[in-house]
């Protein structure tokens, strides 16, 4: 049986008996996952390749809906409702739950337009407001000093680490409640990685963060809670220090000591 700690504080998301099946698959890729996600903290998802951690992450903003034929079962509670409902407004949901991808995804437009993109989608046209919020987002993403003199330049001219921080700025500019990070540093060098990790820790004061990572050290460095997943199941969820030092499940212990993975 899985060992899931009871989170005392307020939860941003509550996953209950969640199952996910890809189109045409005979068995679900996620099996009866139950997982509370604490508010204003960082929850890391670790586990070997194919364990379902990215599949779970992409369920929180219903990214799977872009490809027809996938099925959700169970419940993911967010702001008092089950977001898996057929009537869920996905556009609204995705402005509340933002996402950062493995590879930087700077749009083919200027740095300013990249950060302003989400706000413009929400109908914000006021120049001063846009300027202020773009600057604020870039400052919060620790990128302002590097780009303030070239906001009109093409965003693809930035380095990989800068582009990733640009994507973070773009995501926080619309003031989401939750941010999903899908292996955000696996395409970056160690110094850029350090910058992103620092940012993740800073951002949790304002947003709840879920981060998928292949790197256990990274999970230990940035997260408050860690979930270990294996073959589509959540094996263990606990305080990060406890999970890495005194895991309750045998599988978790074997994974974090490198017996498989």
């Amino acid at each position: 049986m899985a060992s899931i700690i009871d989170i005392k504080e307020e939860c941003a998301l509550n996953v209950r008996d969640f199952e996910f099946t890809y189109k045409g698959a005979s068995a679900p890729s996620l099996k009866k996952v139950t997982m509370p996600i604490a508010k204003n903290s960082v929850t890391a998802l670790i586990g070997p390749s194919g364990c379902g951690k990215t599949t779970l992450l992409r369920s929180f903003n219903r990214m799977h809906d872009l490809y027809p034929g996938n099925t959700y079962n169970g419940e993911i509670e967010f702001e008092g409702r089950n977001i898996l409902g057929a009537k869920e407004d996905l556009i609204h949901l995705r402005t509340k739950i933002g996402m950062i991808f493995q590879k930087p995804t700077a749009f083919p437009m200027s740095i300013f337009d990249n950060v302003a993109y989400g706000m413009r989608l929400q109908g914000i046209k006021n120049k001063t407001e846009l300027n202020d919020r773009v600057e604020k987002a870039l400052q919060d993403a620790a990128l302002w000093k590097e780009v303030k003199d070239r906001l009109k330049n093409d965003a693809n001219g930035l380095s990989g680490g800068q582009q990733q921080r640009l994507c973070i700025a773009r995501a926080i500019a619309v003031e989401p409640e939750v941010l999903l990070f899908d292996e955000p540093t696996s395409a970056l060098d160690p110094i850029s990685t350090q910058g992103i990790e620092k940012l993740v820790i800073e951002l949790k004061e304002r947003v709840s963060i879920i981060i998928v990572t292949h790197n256990m050290q990274q999970a230990a460095r940035v997260s408050d809670y860690t979930g270990f997943m294996y073959l589509g199941e959540l094996i263990e969820l606990g305080h990060t220090e406890e999970l890495f030092v005194t895991p309750k499940e045998k599988l978790t212990q074997e994974y974090i000591t490198g017996k498989f993975g």
């Binding site: 949901l93 402005t95 991808f101 995804t105 993109y117």
Partner: protein, 280 residues
């Protein structure tokens, strides 16, 4: 002689033979260009751009009618063909993807690309010229547009598919509706490629004669009336070239030269845009 020496000799022979073949193939291209430039430049003068056609033997005869007619026909075909081609390509890449309908459209479009252009001319004759009762610029432009659509459709489809899927996902993740994702992110990412496809499509139809023969027909006089027969460089060139009059033949060479330079220019421009897009 050892086996190695034998292999080296065979290798050299093969290299020499394939190089020679390439040179011969290219030589024809340069030969054509050289003849065109010599004959064409010889026949060029300002009168060509000032006067319209006239019976053989007149001093004041030119190609103004055919030049303007050509621009109108190609321009009109572009206005019809480019939006249709781009929208159909967008459907294939962004909506149809690998559905059965999308596969059928892609296959038909590929077949259309190799359809004899005179057959398309005959088709337009039957569905536009016959009901209207007369030749018209519209009919010519529609025939050219039909030839242009599959080219633009296919390049648009290919170029849009080159835009990484994660870029689309990132836009969706910010709460963008699908049409916004396509307009703001996907089109921008594929801009250079689509523009190149459009230019190559225009270049392809600009040199067509057969589909115009019985659609826009031809005329020796200047007109901008889209409901009338309209002269084009290609058909004019054809008519002048087979005529027995020396001055008409001269004008034919000039038309050939101007047309070739226009198409060469479009092709080079298309390639430059693609290169510039890739370098970024």
């Amino acid at each position: 002689m050892t086996a190695t020496q034998k292999r080296i000799i065979i290798n050299r022979l093969a290299l020499a033979f394939s190089t020679l073949s390439a040179v011969i193939a290219l030589a024809f291209l340069f030969w054509i260009l050289a003849v065109l430039v010599m004959k064409g430049v010889d026949a060029l003068n300002w009168n060509i751009f000032i006067y319209e056609g006239s019976p053989p033997g007149y001093e004041d005869s030119g190609l103004k009618h055919a030049l303007i007619g050509q621009l109108i026909l190609v321009g009109l075909a572009t206005l019809i063909g480019v939006p249709l081609g781009i929208m159909a390509g967008t459907y294939l890449s962004e909506y149809g993807k690998s559905s059965n309908l999308a596969h059928v459209i892609r296959d038909i479009s590929d077949i259309m690309m190799s359809a004899p252009s005179i057959v398309i001319g005959a088709f337009v004759y039957a569905i536009v010229v016959m009901p209207m009762g007369h030749f018209s610029a519209w009919a010519g432009a529609i025939a050219l547009a039909i030839i242009m659509i599959p080219i633009i459709l296919r390049t648009t489809d290919d170029m849009l598919q080159l835009v990484p899927g994660t870029l689309r996902e990132a836009a969706f993740a910010l709460g963008a509706p699908k049409y916004k994702v396509i307009l703001d992110v996907v089109y921008r990412g594929a801009k250079a490629g689509i523009l190149t496809g459009v230019l190559l499509g225009i270049a392809r139809v600009a040199g067509e004669t057969a589909p115009l023969l019985f659609t826009s027909f031809n005329d020796n006089f200047f007109t901008t009336d889209l409901n009338e027969a309209m002269p084009s460089l290609t058909v004019t060139m054809f008519n002048y070239a087979i005529s027995p009059y020396d001055d008409w033949q001269q004008l034919g060479w000039a038309a050939a030269f101007i047309l070739s330079m226009f198409i060469l220019g479009l092709n080079i421009l298309g390639r430059l845009i693609l290169l510039a897009g890739k370098r970024k």
